[in-house]
């Protein structure tokens, strides 16, 4: 189990990446596969696969199926799978099936959650080994 490059993503956010614009996946876009970034992703389309990012925003109307590893996750659309994030925000339009591993969570009125929301200490998110264990 060698350390993967995206281990660094879960360390505190890097200032150097601020200038990069967030990736924007429009509502007509469908991606099957894996997404890796040190920046932000805004998803309004469909994604099937694993996502690694600093920040993920799943907009209302968007759908993600798979695992998400990020520092911050905001869900306003439909999600099926697992979320591993320090800070998780579920908007009122969220519809989540699966598990949400989090350190802090905010859930708005109206959000639908089918699954568990296990709390984890901060150091859990600093090491990906835990996450990889959870992947398999």
């Amino acid at each position: 189990m060698p350390a993967l490059p995206h281990v660094a993503i879960l360390t505190p956010p890097r200032g150097g990446e601020v200038s990069d614009v967030p990736s924007h996946l429009g509502k007509a876009l469908t991606i099957k596969g894996r997404l890796d970034t040190t920046g932000a992703i805004h998803i309004y389309g469909n994604v099937h696969g694993r996502i690694t990012a600093d920040r993920l925003v799943l907009g209302a109307g968007g759908y993600v199926e798979g695992d998400v590893v990020a520092n911050d996750v905001r869900i306003g659309g439909r999600f099926a799978g697992r979320i591993f994030a320090r800070n998780v925000t579920l908007d009122g339009s969220a519809d989540v099936t699966g598990r949400i591993f989090h350190h802090t969570a905010t859930v708005a009125k109206g959000a639908r959650i089918d699954g568990r929301m296990p709390w984890r200490p901060l150091n859990y998110f600093e090491r990906l080994e835990h996450l990889r264990e959870a992947q398999s």
Partner: protein
């Protein structure tokens, strides 16, 4: 009483004063569900393209869209879109399909598009299937350019113009041994 709270919570763009617009009758478009009003608001703030793969993003897999795609990052897989732009520092390994494909970065694979533009920083390794192509000075191409977009894709890879006359029937006659005078032996 609070039914509208669920779908109309705008987020991320702080939607100042946009709530009144969102609560207007939503079923104006035929396709869109009412909850996508927020996404179109955000798309309006990024006029470059409907979907943007920014430069720090790497995608391993397939992208498919009926709208425009701007790729500035790295894609290991196929890209399909209406109008696809590959930015100057972007890399795509795979086939790029589209009505229009504008390449400023690197493609290692293939382009299949009605209209193809290779800008001066383009680096294209692979074939270009097109109907209309523009190549700016400085572009790099290593591959075939074929105006076959939209035609039947009979898989005639590399039309290899083998000289047919170079393989006459003489060797066969030599083997049969009859009337050896027809052969063109030296």
């Amino acid at each position: 009483m609070s039914m509208f709270l669920r779908s109309d919570k705008s987020f991320d763009t702080g939607g100042s004063g946009s709530t009144a617009r969102e609560s207007s009758p939503p079923a104006t478009d035929t396709k869109r569900p009412p909850s996508t009003t927020t996404s179109s608001d955000i798309a309006g703030s990024q006029p470059r393209a409907v979907s943007v793969i920014s430069k720090s993003l790497k995608i391993t897999g397939q992208l498919e869209s009926t709208e425009d795609i701007q790729v500035d990052g790295e894609v290991d897989g196929d890209v399909r879109g209406a109008s696809v732009k590959i930015g100057s520092n972007a890399r795509v390994k795979g086939t790029v399909y589209g009505e229009t494909v504008e390449l400023s970065g690197t493609i290692d694979g293939k382009i299949e598009a009605k209209k193809v533009v290779l800008t001066s920083t383009a680096h294209m390794s692979g074939d270009v299937i097109h109907q209309d192509i523009r190549i700016e000075s400085g572009a790099f191409i290593d591959g075939y350019c074929r105006p076959e977009f939209g035609k039947v894709t009979n898989k005639t890879v590399h039309p290899a113009p083998k000289p047919v006359g170079a393989t006459p029937a003489t060797p066969v006659r030599e083997k049969t041994g009859t009337t050896g005078d027809f052969g063109s032996r030296p």
